[in-house]
Symmetry: C2
Subunit: 245 residues, 2 copies
């Protein structure tokens, strides 16, 4: 999933790389106009079908709504406490959870800036490619290539462990939409309680809370439980200053 890609050429290169690895579900969040972009199609040479089938969303939250696992590709370490996986580790995790990758996605940020911390906070884990620390800059197409390549390699490994059942009925992951519903429920209650205050600290507090929850990768059942917790606490008319803090 490409967030705010600036150059059509890079979307095309990403599509090629995906198809090299047998991946086809390309999603774009707020691509720089125009879209459809003739340069993306030109650069896709042979992978045009992936570009043509790409789904475009205005908001990141909508783009990931149906996913159950989400990884955020980052070039630099972040100050967010969240697992950092290599591409090889991440694809292994995905193959174990869903051999065909259904419901799993990887976020890539805009070319110059990468994902911002609010976007990274939405993911279960960060994904960083280990490269020469003295020269680790990758362009978007190459970053997608390395993930798609590892995805394909993991699928070739016939000695792979059978699915561990972590995503079985009982431990099923929530969709991102369900997770966002929990975020919003929590945040609206916290706003009502004047907890996310003063205003200039709000964004940071929200990010850290979301990051915390996403990092824990709750199950569907746990999400339901957390909704219950929020409702229960809010019903208690929790107010700033009342708690321990």
């Amino acid at each position: 999933m490409l967030v705010a890609p600036q150059l059509g050429e890079n979307v095309g290169a990403a599509a090629r790389a995906m198809l090299n690895g047998g991946l086809t579900d390309l999603r774009l969040v707020a691509p720089r106009p125009p879209w459809p972009n003739p340069r993306a199609l030109a650069a896709a040479s042979g992978a045009d079908s992936v570009v043509e089938a790409a789904r475009v969303f205005d908001r990141l939250e909508d783009a990931v709504a149906d996913l159950r696992r989400l990884y955020a590709s980052t070039a630099r370490p972040r100050d967010l406490r969240k697992p950092v996986l290599t591409p090889r580790e991440a694809v292994q995790q995905i193959r174990e959870a869903a051999p065909d990758g259904a419901g799993c996605g990887v976020l890539f940020g805009p070319e110059r800036t990468g994902l911002d911390s609010d976007q990274v906070a939405l993911a279960d884990a960060m994904l960083t490619v280990p490269l020469n620390p003295a020269y680790s800059s990758l362009n978007l197409g190459q970053a997608v290539m390395l993930i798609a390549y590892e995805w394909y390699q993991a699928g070739r490994d016939e000695t792979a462990e059978p699915p561990s059942g972590l995503d079985s009925e009982r431990h099923r992951r929530p969709t991102r939409a369900e997770l966002h519903g929990l975020f919003r429920h929590l945040e609206s209650e916290l706003d009502a309680a004047n907890f996310l205050w003063p205003p200039h600290t709000r964004a940071n507090m929200v990010r850290n809370l979301r990051n915390f929850i996403a990092r824990a990768s709750p199950t569907e059942q746990e999400v339901r439980t957390l909704h219950g917790v929020v409702t229960a606490l809010a019903g208690r008319k929790w107010r700033r200053g009342e708690g321990g803090e």
Copy 2:
């Protein structure tokens, strides 16, 4: 090592990819003029040092003369009987033989055509990236990227086996120059004996012979032995028609 690269941009992209993986010894065989190529430098952005330090050769044989292990990157299977390794397998083999990669090289062919069979025949093994069979086309920069990436990953693996000693004094590989010396010795004797005849079949016979020897990856000692064999046989004034056949 890039054989007859046509576009400066691709040389630059290959240099970047190499440096991403911590590799710097770029060699070019008969790059399309001009060289030095300003487009290569522009595309190298940050890896200019690799492009500037690239060594340029007219002939492939000279470019690989000092190497002891040589892999030929190929997109398609060839009719040559020769091991086909994945990048992961190849870098593991190299790391075991020479943890810093000294004396080992990978050949990449021209963008449109790839290496020809005569060039592949010079290598110890072929190297093919397993990718979606329905769409496996890679550009030169991406192909180099995947090898450089795997090279770097293999170096990170601290649980790697200690060097197996296969390239120890006793089993030392010949340099390619030594191997080519053997080829030439053998071929000149075969020419003298009218074995590589009729002329229109010569190229094919030479290729198959070279491929056979390279595939066997002889040690330095074995190369000396083979020279002895050729000399001994030639001294016997072996002539076409005299042998079994």
